[in-house]
Amino acid sequence: MREKDKNSVLGITGHLSIVKRMKDGTEEVLLDDSNIIVSGMGVGLSYLFTASGSRSILDYQIDRFQVGVSGPPTGGVTSSIFQLSGALTGTEYGTNSNLYLDTRDQLTGTNVTSNRLFALIPKHKITRVGNASVRYTLVLDENACNNLSRSGQTLNLNEIGMFMKNPTGNASPRPILVCYRTFSNIRKTSDFSLIFRWTLNF
């Protein structure tokens, strides 16, 4: 096991790089920066450490994400964020995309918000790196999230979050936001895919 700090604190940190991949295979890094771990991570871990939530370890895994169009949130980016400001809905993720979408009620602070849409992260895109890091590779393929608009107004992707599946162990999973990041507007088109490489370091 590696040495992390010389003080009494273990920092869980996250790092996100966003790569734009063109059809011809060329890549451009759009973002390479730290993220925000939000309080939902602590909520999930406290359930895990007390066995007071789900009895399945799968429910504590970060297995899904959302992208949105309204970041950053009005109150600023704080660790108390529990939802994206403008998560995509309905067909906005793209009807011909390879994304596997899942609709669930989401834990939002002390409330539950019904029928939120999530994109599932395939198991093979979750990799343990070293002794204490986990890397998630999220892909918005060429058919995902293209040419977004609402009420005739053009919208751009500018926020993303990952979710723990169901720490409370509800019969129907209730995901909770655990990490979040805003980024500069990206107008997604079918000319390219977006690859989010997200690493959490424990």
């Binding site: 096991m1 590696r2 040495e3 992390k4 700090d5 010389k6 003080n7 009494s8 604190v9 273990l10 920092g11 869980i12 940190t13 996250g14 730290s34 993220n35 925000i36 771990i37 939000v38 309080s39 991570m41 602590g42 909520v43 871990l45 406290s46 359930y47 895990l48 450490f49 007390t50 066995a51 007071s52 789900s54 009895r55 399945s56 370890i57 799968l58 504590y60 895994q61 970060i62 109150g75 600023g76 980016v77 704080t78 660790s79 108390s80 002390t110 198991k123 979750i126 990799t127 343990r128 070293g130 002794n131 204490a132 890091s133 986990v134 959490l200 370091n201 424990f202």
Partner: protein, 206 residues
């Protein structure tokens, strides 16, 4: 509401209370602890499905005390106590504590060491918070008059361990996740020691 932060911190805080037979209590230690890299080791197994499938294996369900804690130079890569108690007799044969031997994962090797199992009812999650409290008790019959090589030694270190994150099949393989040294305590049957250990998640204030 917390300020902007780019990471979340697992902190630990430990209070050690000496409780005499007449019920009087004295706080001996009230200080932060060290979360060590075993915590990350365990969580990375939980989050990838590389480890145990059993939620209970990720519980911090045991602790060890030792007699060789240093005063300085403790690093977060620590994976074992410096001088853990090694037998049931050192923990106290007359104690009510349940002692279990397991093959502990350390930086260098796997060691068979005893730990005290923390009863479930002494682990508490505060509602609507991200705080978990552990109450560890060395009762009046525990850890008294420990001698090594004919010389009396005193307890001065403690650590809690995650049960079995790798999901080892035959015997639990715990990992040290938090640690604390303290001034030497000569434990006798005149008192019990209560360790109130709190692990909580808190974002950095930047």
């Amino acid at each position: 509401m917390n300020l902007l932060s780019d990471n979340i911190n697992l902190h630990g805080h430990l209070q050690i209370i000496k409780k005499a037979k007449d019920g009087t209590e004295t706080v001996l230690v009230d200080d932060k602890n060290m979360i060590v890299s075993g915590m990350g080791f365990g969580l990375s197994h939980a989050f990838t499905g590389d480890g145990s499938d059993d939620v209970d294996d990720y519980l911090i369900d045991r602790f060890q005390v030792g007699v060789s804690g240093p005063t300085t130079g403790i690093v977060s890569s620590l994976s074992e106590l410096y001088g853990p108690l090694t037998s049931i007799s050192e923990y106290g044969a007359g104690s009510n504590n349940v002692i279990e031997f397991a093959q502990q994962i350390t930086n260098t090797t796997i060691k068979i060491l005893p730990s005290v199992i923390i009863p479930r009812h002494r682990v508490k999650r505060y509602d609507s918070s991200t705080c978990v409290e552990y109450i560890l008790v060395l009762d009046e019959e525990s850890c008294n008059n420990i001698k090594r090589n004919g010389k009396e030694v005193y307890i001065n270190e403690i650590g809690m361990l995650m049960r079995n994150p790798t999901g080892n099949y035959e015997l639990d393989s715990p990992v040290l996740v938090c640690y604390k040294t303290f001034n030497q305590i000569k434990k006798t049957d005149d008192f019990s020691l209560i360790f109130r250990w709190t692990i909580f998640n808190e974002t950095n204030f930047s």
